[in-house]
């Protein structure tokens, strides 16, 4: 009887420790991403790129290095009137809108992303 009670208590304590450890692990992972300031670097790149697109004349190509001072750019998208840039293992981005009247297309190779700004046909 006593052994059964003791084992039940141990089981409860272990379950609580596991649950609390899981919650704190989630908390530390999300706090780490904030402290690394990847969000700020992403914001800087997106806004810089959007401003370049807005200010650029026709027949301009912007080359963005995949490895730059803000980190490794893992993905870059230009869609729905917004620029989305992902640094490292980021998977979400709010993007930043641009208002240029020109047509925007995106290409890439091993080292650069190329944003091409052309007249609308």
């Amino acid at each position: 009887m006593k052994n059964k009670k003791a084992s039940n208590t141990l089981y409860q304590v272990v379950m609580q420790i596991i649950l609390i450890a899981l919650i704190f692990a989630l908390f530390f992972f999300s706090a780490t991403s904030k402290v690394n300031s990847k969000g700020t670097k992403q914001q800087v790149l997106e806004k810089q790129t959007a401003l370049f697109i807005d200010a650029a004349a026709s027949n301009t190509t912007l080359a963005i290095s995949k490895i730059n001072k803000y980190g490794k750019v893992s993905n870059l998208k230009v869609e729905a009137g917004r620029v989305f840039i992902f640094i490292g293992d980021q998977e979400t981005s709010r993007g930043y809108p641009y208002f240029t009247k020109y047509q925007i297309s995106l290409e890439s190779d091993n080292d650069y992303y190329y944003i091409k700004i052309r007249d609308k046909k």
């Binding site: 409860q12 989630l26 914001q43 401003l51 200010a55 009247k101």
Partner: protein, 202 residues
Amino acid sequence: MIDKYIKLGKLNKHSAIGDAVINIYRILLVILIAFVVLGVAAVFYNYSLDVRNVEAEILARNVINCMTSKEYFDLDGFMKQDKQILDYCGIRNTERLYASVIIVTPEYSTNPSYVPNPDYQPNKGLQLMKTFEQGDSGILWVKEVLFRAELMQSTGSSSQDVDILKKYEPGFFSEFYPVIIMYSGKKIKAEVNINVVIGNEL
């Protein structure tokens, strides 16, 4: 004897339920603490870059380049078609943009001034010719309130802290440009005042 064991069994069941309730409370408390600390960290490390003033300047330049892409701005042609000024210049994503274009004649002035309101009264010697605007002019009121508050603070007529309003300030740019316009078949030397306001991107 059997009754005693049955009573003990019921008591054990009740204590087990009590333990479960306390455990749920403990888990919820841990979750709450984790969220509070996470929230504080998010606020502390969050940083928002405001590039809207630069965007406003770029937009103003795009509009004036559009108006002066030929030797003159064809005001007659613009008045005949249905588009507003930003659509006429091919500008996209205009939901958070506001632009007003005020054409004045005949003198050329090099004295740009802040013009928060499209109901602009030109300086003496200049004649208001045409005004076009596109976008939500409602965001102008924040700029106007801030302008008047700063004016009152600088003249000492108000002791209120203007910095509280600064976080609501939209991006803004205003400039005068000389331009030649075609109006009623005649080329006229004029001056264009472009005011651009950019709201938040959300």
